[in-house]
Symmetry: C2
Subunit: 333 residues, 2 copies
């Protein structure tokens, strides 16, 4: 039976349509269409030995040529860290100087590695680099929001295959981040609860959409998932911003994230995907009403004119079935 | 110089980055990669002679085998028109029965035709079909919003190449449509003006982002366009819902829309695109604060993790340059 569902965190409605549905295994990427990658590529600016091709490093884990993770400014930045915030308001025309940060986090020395296959300890190093860069950049008083994200595969918008993530820090609060914070405040005022705490607690209790649960995190398909295998990883404990993650939680998240990405890798044959870490605006540290989380969107479906005209999505897979499919994937751990 | 810009209608910020920019002509689709389509295809359910392959027609223009435009229920509907609206609220879990309408508007008898190449009179027939279906379906008291849209090309999410549009009518107000209405109300309360009226008047005065202006419409690249060649077509006169469009305005819009689509067709070599008509929720007929419009999004860029994590877009082309490029395209009229 088709159904409309509303996501209580985002307030977005989604149409879930079994009539058009594929079975979960129909989203598996066909095998053998991509040649295997080499361990190292002479032209890749992120490979060992080519460190001189990148801009001045902002952070690294590991010494000398034995680095494990590096952070560097993006050579083609969307925003740059020189100059002041200059805001212009001329009637309906509102602009701001493009000041901010745009960094790359090189996740591993090997060109052909991917988070799903890295040791948990290495994934933890990547997350430590995220946290260090978030904390360092948020201190800049021109910054209002920090977005950490990853584009995996050409279909997910990446141009360089060497495993890397990105950080963009903006001098304004993006409208969607502000809007979701406002909705969370309203929920808090109505109920006295953080809507994200309520969601993760209820999902843990309901079980049917959980992929895995670790000591500090739960990974699940949202009740109103926007697309097949849309995944949320939530901290079980209330924390409003990613930068507050503890060392213990980083180790635990590394295991949880690797496990989920390995389920996608083996279950769907290394699909293209994006993920992003959503926190509150940087000036609103430690609020009661919002909770940071990580959202993963495998690129197994297309959006079209309906989504552009309504902001609504059509999901051809029931979240409960997607979750069951991923729970059953053997991850070779 | 890179710049952040805010769209006063949607409140969304966009990063416009000339450092990463391509010149407008670099968005032109490579020639010769697609074989030409036949005028008719024996398996196509929308071709003349195959009318029996579609469900019961809801509207047609033209008699018998000489139809010009047909409306039919979608064979794989996202929503169906049987049953009542049944809403369930169980804590954070909110759902609604998937009741609504999902129709296809077959735009032309010829398999290989496209709006950019049709006579204006035929485009007007397509728009008349939109209006007739909008008016008929909005009367159903289960419906809260009607979204008209078109997916052109595989990259824009279509599976059937025969020229067609779609209509989806939902039993809830999509969150984005509600949210934009709320923002427009706030603007109205602050200024006493419709934000869309203000926008189109200022764009007509500024000229630099206008593609063409007709008697009743202006087509322009929004000041904070989300992507290269993102286009808005606005009525010059305040009308809150598409269903109120007059016969005179339909003839004028047909010319305007065909002209803009022909500029994309010839200028960018028939790119994949989506368009959508955005109106207010159907129960709010004739409001002062909002204005219907048509939005066109050519698929010349990709979204990735940054967009997923922030709702913000990065546009690699300045709207003023995109508009200038389209103004210069010869449309063979």
């Amino acid at each position: 039976m088709a159904e409309l569902r509303q996501n209580v965190v985002t307030r977005e409605w989604v149409i879930i349509t079994p009539e058009r549905a594929k079975r979960p295994d129909q989203f598996v990427k066909p095998k053998g269409i991509e040649p295997p990658l080499p361990m190292s590529s002479p032209d890749c600016p992120f490979c060992v030995g080519n460190e001189h091709l990148t801009l001045r490093e902002t952070f690294r884990i590991g010494e000398g040529g034995n680095w494990r993770v590096r952070a560097i400014p993006n050579r083609y930045p969307a925003l740059t860290d020189t100059g002041e915030r200059v805001r212009k308001v001329d009637g309906i025309y509102r602009s701001m100087s493009a000041v901010g940060f745009h960094e790359v986090i090189v996740e591993h020395p090997l060109h052909n590695m991917t988070l799903a296959l890295m040791p948990e300890k290495h994934v933890a190093d990547v997350l430590r680099a995220y946290r260090q860069r978030y904390r360092a950049i948020r201190k800049d008083n021109r910054i209002e929001a920090v977005i950490l994200f990853k584009n995996h595969g050409e279909g997910a918008g990446t141009s360089l295959v060497h495993p890397h993530s990105q950080l963009v820090a903006t001098p304004i609060v993006p409208a969607q981040i502000r809007h979701r914070a406002e909705e969370a405040i309203r929920y808090f005022d109505d109920t006295g609860e953080c809507v994200c705490c309520r969601t993760v607690q209820d999902e843990v209790r309901a079980k049917e959409r959980i992929i895995i649960q670790t000591r500090h995190f739960a990974a699940f398909i949202p009740y109103a998932a926007l697309s097949p295998f849309h995944i949320w990883i939530f901290p079980l404990k209330h924390v409003s911003s990613f930068e507050e993650i503890t060392d213990t939680e980083i180790r635990d998240l590394a295991g949880c994230l690797k496990n989920v990405l390995a389920r996608l890798y083996y279950g769907l044959n290394n699909p293209d995907f994006n993920y992003s870490i959503r926190s509150i605006p940087t000036r609103d540290l430690r609020v009661e009403y919002f909770h940071w989380y990580l959202t993963i969107v495998p690129r197994v479906s297309k959006t079209a004119g309906f989504e552009i005209g309504s902001g609504m999505y059509v999901n051809t897979a029931f979240p409960e079935e997607s979750a069951e499919f991923l729970r059953k994937v053997a991850t070779c751990d």
